[in-house]
């Protein structure tokens, strides 16, 4: 039962509690952990993208002084099973290459030594005999019948392939006045968190138990997968995550094979083994988002109504496919049609193998790929119909009175006011004025463009979506999956301070701060009176497979659990207060650290005295009540249901909205892009802490800017990775990120306790396509079409030349 309560702290820009330790070097990260007699690992990695391993000779390496042992692929195959993954024919994916390597950088052996230096020296003298094989790097090439096949047991490079039909696309085609077609290419790139992967593993042969420190971000379903791979029960493997993680962004969901690898190295050598990934290893063999080829058709009416979409999307997960993939193809199902009332959709999805490194849910998790196609298509439709691209969006939006809105694909959009947020973005860049400026500039031979993007931001994943890789018939035979669970414990100590035990596993988002604000408001205390430990320890914490921070889930299900647990404690405190004050429970109110009787407020008792009674005077408690003062909440979002037999699923449970409006000027002589104006309006429901939200928005903008203009995980045609250092992998610096006017609209979600929705990914989904739309708009007079990223000056310049050289058909 929602109650009206004091919001003194939630919604305020309270300074983060985490920052003092982070800014004074007192954070506790993986590399800060020192254990007795710890040894160090270095990983030998394949220089070939595709090759048989004919033989390996480690004898010289074992003789290097200080080397304690070496783990080879042969050892890994003997000591573990391949990782389970949700595709019809899984590849044999071990934590180390066994008989074949399938991407440059794939681990082939691990050396354990007294220092990292010695381990690296030993790598130099390991001899591996490779027999190179032909490579396949292109997505469409990989799907062809004559492509070199990576996995003999699969027989083709297609990991997953499904067709979906929603509504009646045939009818949409018949009713359409036009059909607009496009092909879109989205590049492979990642989030490069400032802290790389770290693992410290040890194995106790007497009780056959692993203890592994690591900076994994969740979901903890991967703890189960590693247990299965290692052939052990889950209660024989303890994962402990440190207090601080230097950024996850989805990249750290893909690190679990390294956890297994280092655990095996520890078991084989009987040592405690530490491995900290270096930056080059990260840029070769960590995890990126998928690159994707999309063919899309839109059936539209001349008044701009978009009746239906047909699309084929091909995702590349690289040399192997690993959980949560093939989620890349299915995770955005619920919000596939974005912010629009599109009821007809035909989808074909394919997930393929190439000799590139592997993938994980990179910040935005395929929504940037999806909206790159959808929002480019909306602009292309507008151009075809000679309509203003803002007008066509207003025409097709889901309207504010239609919420909660169920999409054709089963997504349940909780709340939103898309026209209001979009109008705010347009007003911020002075849209009509900029259109006039654009015309004036064209007459002067200058190329200004306006790029718009309006997207729905899904947060808190319902793990049911992974089962969309199976057909309804296949699903009916197996066990259903569903849920988005989270767990929080709130307790009060004998002196009345609150302590929260959470396992939301933050990587820098500021959960400790937000949790303190929430508990302070609920109990009428000060955030300084709330302490939080929010780390996962699979032995000491109550967690579940969905536990972790990914898919921006804290603000929804995490906050729900915090509020639920705190309200349970508050209920208990009210009962104690009623009992001690001899009043009725309904008459008890809470304000500023005091529980008092509504009708006679002088009858009151302070939080610290209630806590004191619960601990120090246990028999004074109401009959049958537990001693102490704590409560737990382990809940899931009720809309996290399995898919239905028509493949509809609410793949996420809260849906925010972003309107991006970007004005650029492109210099056709150099391909340089300058940002003249940029407005980014966000609806993340109730704002819990505006400082944190602004940080998330700016961070997502910087990440997205990278993928739009600068970053690409590049490979040459021989399969060599070309971007293994920051000299070539161009992450934007402060110099590249322009000033952005950030605006907010708050439409509280009816599904979360405080109305908040996730915002951790936000602009990563809207910015790439908004920038592409802006550049396309700027260069339209030159006949340039934009359908790929990143748009480096070189690429833009070539597109302009190609358009000039194209034979003109009159």
């Amino acid at each position: 039962m929602p109650e009206k309560q004091q919001k003194k702290w939630v919604g305020k820009g309270m300074q983060r509690k985490e920052d003092l330790r982070l800014l004074t070097g007192r954070g506790r990260f993986m590399d800060d952990i020192r254990l007795p007699q710890m040894k160090y690992a270095a990983i030998l990695r394949s220089p070939y993208p595709h090759a048989w391993i004919k033989g390996m000779d480690v004898t010289q390496a074992l003789k290097v002084s200080g080397v304690r042992g070496i783990l080879t692929g042969e050892d890994v195959a003997a000591m573990s099973q391949p990782f389970p993954v949700g595709v019809p024919i899984p590849p044999k994916y071990y934590s180390c290459a066994v008989d074949k390597v399938r991407y440059v950088g794939e681990p082939v052996a691990v050396v354990v030594a007294d220092s990292r230096y010695i381990a690296e020296d030993a790598l130099d003298v390991i001899e591996v005999d490779y027999e190179p094989l032909p490579v396949v790097m292109g997505i469409e090439e990989a799907a062809e019948a004559d492509a070199p096949v990576l996995h003999e047991n699969i027989g083709s490079n297609i990991y997953s392939h499904r067709l979906f039909q929603y509504g009646d696309m045939q009818k949409a085609y018949e009713e359409a006045d036009r059909v607009v077609k496009g092909k879109f290419l989205f590049p492979k790139y990642g989030s490069t968190p400032i802290e790389t992967y770290g693992v410290i593993a040890s194995y106790n042969p007497f009780n056959e138990e692993f203890v592994i420190y690591n900076n994994y971000q969740g979901p903890f379903v991967n703890h189960s997968l590693v247990a299965i791979a290692l052939g052990i029960p889950e209660n024989k493997m303890r994962w402990i995550v440190p207090t601080d993680i230097g950024g996850g962004f989805g990249t750290k969901t893909g690190m679990y094979p390294y956890i297994a690898l280092i655990a095996l190295a520890a078991k084989k050598t009987a040592m405690t083994v530490k491995w900290i990934e270096d930056r080059r290893e990260h840029l070769l063999a960590s995890a990126t988002g998928t690159d994707r080829v999309t063919y899309m058709e839109a059936a539209v009416k001349k008044d701009g109504t978009i009746l239906g979409l047909k699309d084929k999307a091909m995702d590349n997960t690289g040399g192997y496919i690993r959980a949560p993939e093939p989620g890349c193809a299915y995770r955005s199902t619920g919000n596939h049609t974005g912010a629009y009332q599109i009821r007809h959709l035909d989808r074909e999805v394919m997930v393929v193998a190439t000799n590139k490194c592997l993938t994980a849910p990179n910040r935005g998790y395929t929504c940037q790929e999806l909206y790159f196609s959808v929002e480019r298509m909306v602009d292309m439709v507008a151009a075809e119909l000679k309509m203003d691209p803002a007008e066509i969006r207003f025409k097709n939006f889901i309207q504010p009175d239609q919420f909660p809105y169920t999409t054709a694909t089963g997504g349940v959009y909780d709340a939103g006011d898309y026209p209001k947020a979009f109008q705010m973005a347009l007003d911020k860049i002075d849209y009509q004025k900029m259109r006039k400026e654009q015309l004036k500039a064209r007459k002067e031979g200058r190329y200004i463009g306006i790029g718009l993007a309006t997207v729905v931001d899904p947060s808190v994943t319902n793990i049911a979506y992974v089962t969309l890789a199976l057909t309804p018939e296949q699903r009916a035979k197996g066990h259903p999956k569903s849920g988005s669970g989270e767990s929080v414990i709130v307790k009060l100590d004998p002196l009345g301070k609150a302590h929260v035990i959470a396992c939301t596993n933050p990587q820098g988002q500021g959960h400790e701060t937000v949790i303190s604000q929430i508990v302070a408001d609920e109990l009428g205390i000060h955030p300084d009176d709330v302490s939080v430990s929010d780390v996962v320890d699979t032995y000491d914490r109550v967690y579940t497979i969905t536990t972790g921070s990914y898919s921006s889930r804290f603000a929804s299900v995490g906050v729900n659990a915090v509020v639920a647990a705190t309200r349970k404690v508050k209920e208990k405190m009210k009962k104690i207060a009623a009992h001690l004050l001899e009043a009725n429970l309904e008459d008890i109110e809470v304000k500023e650290g005091k529980f008092y009787v509504k009708s006679s407020p002088e009858k009151s008792i302070q939080v610290k005295h209630i806590a004191g009674t619960a601990h120090w005077n246990q028999t004074a408690l109401p009959e049958g009540m537990d001693v102490g003062l704590y409560a737990s909440s382990l809940l899931t979002m009720p809309t996290s249901q399995p898919p239905d037999s028509l493949d509809r699923v609410d793949s996420s449970n809260t849906y925010g909205f972003i309107a991006e409006a970007i004005v650029v000027e492109v210099d056709p002589a150099t391909g340089q892009v300058d940002f003249l104006k940029w407005a980014s309006v966000h609806d993340a429901g109730t704002v819990l802490n505006p400082l944190l939200l602004e940080g998330q928005v700016m961070g997502s903008i910087a990440h997205a800017l990278g993928g739009s203009l600068y970053e690409e995980w590049a490979y040459d045609e021989n399969g060599q990775c070309l971007t293994a250092s920051f000299q070539d992998y161009l992450v934007p610096t402060a110099m590249e990120v322009p000033k952005v006017d950030i605006g907010h609209v708050e439409t509280p979600s009816p599904f979360t306790a405080l109305g908040s929705k996730g915002a951790g990914e936000s602009s990563t989904m809207s910015v790439p396509v908004a920038i592409a739309n802006a550049i396309a708009d700027a260069l339209a007079p030159l006949g340039v079409t934009i359908n790929e990223l990143p748009l480096s000056p070189n690429k833009i310049w070539h597109l302009i030349q190609d358009a000039k050289n194209r034979p003109q058909l009159s």
């Binding site: 220089p47 130099d124 840029l283 060599q720 293994a724 250092s725 000299q727 070539d728």
Partner: protein, 146 residues
Amino acid sequence: MKLEGTFTFNAPQEKVWEVLTNPRHLEKAIPGCEKLEEIEPGKYDATLKIGIAAVKGTYKGMAQVADPQRPQRYRLIVEGGGSPGFVKGEALIELCHQNQSTVVTYQGEGQVGGLIAGVGQRLISGIAKMMLGQFFKQIGKELKTL
């Protein structure tokens, strides 16, 4: 990456052929080559110490004088692998006399993989040109010793 070019030597074709195919001379000419040891006629075990960008390393592999058609042409194949990755190069080397000189034309492919490809790809073609230049300059020196 494509490798092609020409070099002219002030020497008769037979002598140039001798220097370009004899392991005693090749050992001195191939940049970074520490040792060439014959496995079978025309095929040699090679140890190369090369630095590209900040990456210096030792490569073990082989060099081969293949399909010799004395004194007109042969294929030079060099391969090496080591901790910094691998290098592979194959070129068709053709000689023709021009008055008192010999014009040597080479046309081939080079491939680099592993660490150096990952961090030095901007520099590789420049370094390859430089190493080819060093190779032919040294061949010129070797010719003078004959």
